[in-house]
C-alpha cells in the first residue's frame, strides 16, 4: 500500500514540477508523435513551429511578450493524445492547442479541448469529423479530407476532353483514403463516369502488383490512387508502372504523391503523374517562396505540406494572441483568443485563412473550418523531377500535359 502511495506521489510531483516553467511567455501546446512510427512527422512539425516562434520572438514577440511552444509526445496513440492534451491544458496551462498529426489523435484532443474550453487550432489532421461535430472551440486551418480532390474535379470539368471515360480507384482503407475515395467516387458518378475498379488496400502494403494486375485487366482511362502513407504512394505508383497499367492519367491523392522522394525514388516513372492535394504549395506566392528559402537555409531540408502548415499556424495563433485582450485570467484569456480566432482574416505561407461554418462536398456541416479550403486544393504534375502546379490557372507554374 505504501508503495502505491509513493508512486502516486512521484507521479503527481513530476506533474507539478514541470508546470512551473517559464511563467511569463505565452504558451501554445502541441501534442505530436515524437516516438514510434509517426515520429518523423512530429519532428517536422517541431522544426516548423520552432522556426516560426524564433522569427516572431526576434521581432519582439506578441505585444511585447515572448511566445513559447510546449510539445508533448502522444506516440500516435489516442488515449495518450487525450492524456497529454489534458496535461497541457490543466498543468502546463497553455492558452491554445495546435498539432495532433493524425485524425484519431486530433479527435481526442478536440474532445478534451471542447470540454475544458480551450481553443484548438488544427494544422494538419484532415478527418472531416474534427470540424464537423459542432465543437465551437475547435478551428482548422487546413482543408478537410473531402476537399483533397477538389482541384481534380475542377480540372476534369473545366478542361475540354479531360473528363475520364472510366476510372479505377485504389485507396487505403484508412479514414483518409476512404474519405477521399468516397468524395471523388460520388462526384464521378454524378458525371456518369464508370468506376471499373474499386480497391481498398491495407496501409503498408508490401506488394501492389496483384492489385495492379487487376487494375490493368480493367483497363481504366484514369487511375486514381489515394495513400495516407508516403511509402504506399511511391510503391503503388512503381508497381502500377511496372505491371504496365497505361491509363491516360495517373492521379495521386495524399501527401506522399507530392514529396521530393516521389521523384527521386521513382526517377522517370514519376513523369507526368498528377498530384491533387489540399495544398501543393504555390511558389508564386511571396510568403510561401520566402518560407521555402528560409527553411532551406535554416535546416538544409526542403519543406513540404507539413512544415508549411506548422509554420503558418503559429502565425495565425500569434495574430489571434495580438488581437485578444489578455488579462492573465486563464479562462477569460482562452475565451478571448477564441473570439479573436473567429475574426481571423489573414494571409500566411499556407494561403488565406478565415474561419466559418459551411457545408462540405460529402454533406458535412463544418464549424470554424477555414472557408478558403476549397481554393487551397491544387492539381500539380511531376515534370522532370519537379512538382509543378498546373491547375487552377492562377496557381499554375506550367501547362498540364497528358501522357502520350
Amino acid at each position: 500500500m505504501k508503495q502505491m502511495l509513493r508512486c502516486l506521489l512521484a507521479a503527481s510531483l513530476t506533474v507539478i514540477s514541470s508546470a512551473a516553467l517559464a511563467e511569463d511567455a505565452l504558451k501554445i501546446g502541441a501534442p505530436q508523435p515524437m516516438t514510434g512510427a509517426d515520429a518523423p512527422f512530429g519532428d517536422k512539425f517541431k522544426k516548423a513551429y520552432s522556426m516560426a516562434i524564433e522569427e516572431i520572438n526576434a521581432k519582439g514577440g506578441v505585444n511585447g511578450r515572448k511566445i513559447e511552444i510546449v510539445i508533448e509526445d502522444h506516440q500516435a496513440k489516442n488515449p495518450l493524445a487525450a492524456t497529454v492534451a489534458e496535461k497541457l491544458i490543466t498543468e502546463d496551462k497553455v492558452l491554445i492547442l495546435t498539432g495532433g498529426r493524425a485524425s484519431g489523435q486530433a479527435i481526442e484532443i478536440a474532445s478534451v479541448a471542447q470540454r475544458l474550453k480551450t481553443p484548438y487550432l488544427v494544422d494538419h489532421p484532415s478527418a472531416d469529423a474534427v470540424t464537423a461535430k459542432g465543437w465551437d472551440w475547435v478551428f482548422r486551418q487546413n482543408p478537410p479530407g473531402s476537399i483533397y480532390p477538389e482541384a481534380f474535379h475542377k480540372f476534369i470539368t473545366e478542361v475540354p476532353g479531360a473528363m475520364p471515360k472510366s476510372v479505377a480507384v485504389v485507396y487505403d482503407n484508412t479514414l483518409f483514403g476512404k474519405t477521399i475515395a468516397a468524395a471523388t467516387i460520388a462526384f464521378l458518378k454524378s458525371k456518369n463516369v464508370p468506376i471499373v475498379a474499386d480497391e481498398a488496400y491495407p496501409v503498408n502494403t508490401l506488394d501492389f502488383k496483384p492489385i495492379m494486375t487487376k487494375v490493368k485487366a480493367a483497363n481504366p482511362d484514369y487511375l486514381l490512387m489515394m495513400a495516407v502513407a508516403t511509402t504506399d504512394a511511391i510503391l503503388m505508383t512503381r508497381h502500377a508502372k511496372e505491371i504496365g497499367v497505361t491509363p491516360r492519367a495517373f492521379v495521386g491523392f495524399g501527401g506522399g504523391f507530392g514529396v521530393g522522394d516521389f521523384a527521386t525514388q521513382l526517377g522517370p516513372l514519376s513523369e507526368k503523374v498528377f498530384s491533387s492535394a489540399s495544398w501543393s504549395g504555390n511558389p508564386n506566392d511571396p510568403l510561401t517562396a520566402a518560407f521555402y528559402k528560409n527553411y532551406q537555409a535554416k535546416y538544409g531540408l526542403h519543406p513540404h505540406e507539413h512544415e508549411v502548415e506548422g509554420y503558418s499556424v503559429i502565425y495565425v495563433i500569434a495574430d489571434a494572441l495580438k488581437r485578444a485582450k489578455l488579462t492573465g485570467n486563464l479562462e477569460a484569456d482562452r475565451d478571448a483568443i477564441r473570439q479573436a480566432l473567429l475574426t481571423t482574416d489573414m494571409q500566411t505561407a499556407f494561403g488565406k485563412t478565415k474561419f466559418g461554418n459551411w457545408t462540405g462536398p460529402n454533406g458535412d456541416q463544418y464549424t470554424n473550418q477555414n472557408i478558403y479550403s476549397p481554393e487551397h486544393s491544387v492539381l500539380a504534375q511531376w515534370r522532370n523531377g519537379q512538382l509543378l502546379n498546373v491547375y487552377p490557372k492562377d496557381n499554375a507554374e506550367t501547362a498540364y500535359a497528358f501522357p502520350e
Binding site: P40, A200, K209, I211, K216, T264
Partner: protein, 288 residues
C-alpha cells in the same frame, strides 16, 4: 491468365523473403524455446546495415551480405551472452516479454540515432523490371529470391553435414539428452541465436533494395513472421519455408480473387484453419 501468373510469381517472390525471415525465428525457437519478439528489429538492423554500406561506401547491397551476415552473427552471440542467457530458464512467457522489451529498446535507439525518416536504396539496375513471358519481375527482388535460396540451402547443409549443425538439431529435439551426450547446450544456444540473428540480418539486407526502411519496420514484419512460423510448425525449417511461400501466395492470390481489404485477414483465417486441423502446424511434430 496473365493476372493469375503475375499474382503467382509475386506471391512466390515475396513469400520466399517472408520465409527467410521466418527461418531465423524458427530455429531460435526450436533450440531455445524463445519466441524472439526482437527478431523484426534484427531484420531492421540488417536493412540499415545495407543502407549505410551502400550510401557511405557505395557497396552493392547484395555484396554487403558478406559483411553484414558475419556482423549480425557476432551481434546475436553478444546479445545472447550478455542479455538473454540468464532469462531462458525463466520460461517461454518471460523470455517473450523480455525480447519484447528488447525490441522496444532497439527500435527506439534506432529512431534516436537515425530518425524515423523513410529511406530506400535506389539501384541503377532496379529501376525497371525484367519481363520474362510478359510477367513483371522486379530485378532486386529476383536477386534477393535467388540469394535466399542459396542461403537456405547452405543452412540446411550446415545443419546436416557439420558437427555443430548436428548438435544444434540434437538440442532442438531434446536438450536434456543432448546435454547427456556431452553437447554444451549453452554454447549451442549461443551459436543458434547468432545464426538466427544472422539470418534475420541477411533477410534485412536482401529486402533493403525492395522495401522502405525505417526504425519501426520490424513491427509489420514480425506479425507476418509469427503467422508463418506457427503455420509451418514452430521449430521446423521446412515448415517455415512452406509457411512463408504459402502466406505469400495466399496474400497475393487472395487480394486479386477475394478482396484486398481482407488480404491480411485471409492469411489469419488460413492460419486458424490449418491450426484447427493440425494443431502443431503443417510440419510440426515437436516435443510436447
Amino acid at each position: 491468365m496473365e493476372m493469375f501468373l503475375q499474382s503467382l510469381v509475386s506471391g512466390v517472390l515475396t513469400g520466399t523473403l517472408y520465409a527467410m525471415i521466418a527461418v531465423g525465428l524458427t530455429i531460435v525457437f526450436g533450440v531455445m524455446r524463445i519466441i524472439n519478439m526482437a527478431h523484426g528489429e534484427m531484420v531492421m538492423l540488417g536493412m540499415f546495415g545495407a543502407y549505410w554500406s551502400y550510401s557511405l561506401l557505395h557497396l552493392d547491397p547484395f555484396l554487403s551480405l558478406l559483411l553484414w551476415m558475419p556482423a549480425m552473427f557476432a551481434f546475436g552471440m553478444v546479445v545472447y551472452r550478455f542479455l538473454l542467457r540468464k532469462i531462458i530458464p525463466g520460461g517461454e512467457l518471460n523470455s517473450l516479454l523480455y525480447t519484447a522489451g528488447l525490441s522496444l529498446l532497439i527500435a527506439n535507439l534506432a529512431l534516436l540515432l537515425w530518425t524515423g525518416d523513410y529511406r530506400n536504396i535506389n539501384l541503377s539496375y532496379g529501376m525497371l523490371p525484367a519481363r520474362p513471358f510478359g510477367i513483371s519481375v522486379s530485378v532486386p527482388l529476383a536477386i534477393a529470391f535467388a540469394l535466399a535460396m542459396v542461403i537456405t540451402t547452405l543452412l540446411s547443409l550446415f545443419l546436416s553435414r557439420t558437427d555443430t549443425g548436428r548438435a544444434i538439431r540434437a538440442t532442438a529435439q531434446n536438450p536434456e539428452a543432448a546435454a547427456l551426450m556431452g553437447i554444451e547446450v549453452g554454447r549451442i544456444d549461443m551459436i543458434t541465436f547468432g545464426l538466427g540473428t544472422a539470418l534475420a540480418g541477411a533477410s534485412g539486407v536482401l529486402l533493403a533494395p525492395s522495401l522502405y526502411l525505417y526504425p519501426t519496420v520490424g513491427e509489420i514484419l514480425i506479425v507476418k513472421c509469427f503467422v508463418i512460423v506457427v503455420l509451418g510448425g514452430l521449430g521446423s525449417i521446412p515448415g517455415a519455408i512452406a509457411g512463408g511461400v504459402l502466406l505469400g501466395l495466399v496474400e497475393s492470390l487472395g487480394s486479386v480473387y477475394i478482396s484486398v481489404a481482407y488480404k491480411d485477414g485471409i492469411g489469419f483465417v488460413l492460419f486458424l484453419l490449418v491450426l484447427l486441423f493440425r494443431p502443431k502446424g503443417l510440419f510440426g511434430v515437436g516435443r510436447s
